[in-house]
Symmetry: C2
Subunit: 236 residues, 2 copies
Amino acid sequence: MAIKTLSAKAAAALDKELMSTGAFSIDQLMELAGLSVSQVVYRVHPLNKGNRVLVACGPGNNGGDGLVAARHLRHYGYQPTIYYPKRSKSDLYQRLAKQLEDLDVPFVEDFPSALKSTDHIVDAIFGFSFSGEVREPFPAVIKALEETKLPVTSVDAPSSWNIEEGPPKSGVGSSFHPEFLISLTAPKPLVKHFQGRHFVGGRFVSPSIAKKYEFEVPEYQGLDQIVETSPTDQKL
Amino acid sequence: MAIKTLSAKAAAALDKELMSTGAFSIDQLMELAGLSVSQVVYRVHPLNKGNRVLVACGPGNNGGDGLVAARHLRHYGYQPTIYYPKRSKSDLYQRLAKQLEDLDVPFVEDFPSALKSTDHIVDAIFGFSFSGEVREPFPAVIKALEETKLPVTSVDAPSSWNIEEGPPKSGVGSSFHPEFLISLTAPKPLVKHFQGRHFVGGRFVSPSIAKKYEFEVPEYQGLDQIVETSPTDQKL
């Protein structure tokens, strides 16, 4: 039986639909997506086991999810540091960065140095809209993520992976295997190649939207904004 | 010793500051406020003890918090019904209502009838910006809330109460004493007159903003967006 996943194309259409007929604003969706990412980090890295978290943010929506997650993590008691080398000029991203600055969360420019003083990492560099080549300055960052022994939590996709095909066959990212992955709204086809602990977030999708895109809303428990599933769980 | 509360004027200034120098959008703040309201309901009304919840929404931001809370409650497994007689024409409120409609949450016009088929109530009619007289059609609604034996959770203020002085001395609302109250960001002076279980929500306030407005960020636990406190707790 096939795993129910969402292709890059379908994920883009779903996002567009949530913000048109679904009537969500991007602020709302990003807040809830980032909140779910923060809940995964909280679950896999209890606060007393190292609270320094390096959040690597890319230039698009995946990076925005990382910025929101970092804010929530700060409120939970973690000490986030942000690597955000290609800042978006859009108002929303500037506001998300300002919210972190107001909490005295540091932004750093030297990724390898930052890696030396963190306990774990959030990879919010590229999401479902990634395709093609990893652009500067991210190849060195992905390479550092491949080589580090620190645990990495990837948001929606291990950055550099092809959304449909998984890890690149060679070069940057070909041996990048994060420990944790949170799929937003629904897993993408690349989960077939993912071996770590897998979560789904996005507790805002209506059953009718899920039905239209041929996936099922996972069975969230209690107040959780995330649910842990096997990447090959038939229910997804 | 005085309780650290936020006057109506200070609460309005704080809200304005969060959305200007604080760089939050109203969509973000309302999402987090509504989420915290939903967590109070979840805590005081476990799902297996009656999951029908009637959410009474006023025309302003308090009503918006109620609409967001209702959506989260629906996702948790509650069966919300919305009473929202004075719909705001602003885009945000229309979108929040549409998000509920997409989840098949019913909107009703007859409040007394709705009261007969619910297990508990959220009062999101008026918040910290309320002053003066209760306008139509809300006097009958407040009266019904005074008379019902069902438990009520008020958002930021028991509706009809004066933000500084508490319950009106006579007339509509003078005997309205909800069981639960969630103060958003910080308690308002009216909490001195509140006898039920009291919560604070708003886990987005930075320590520097709290300091400026002379209150303390409460000690939230874990992932909680709320914290239960005594209304007269000196820490607030």
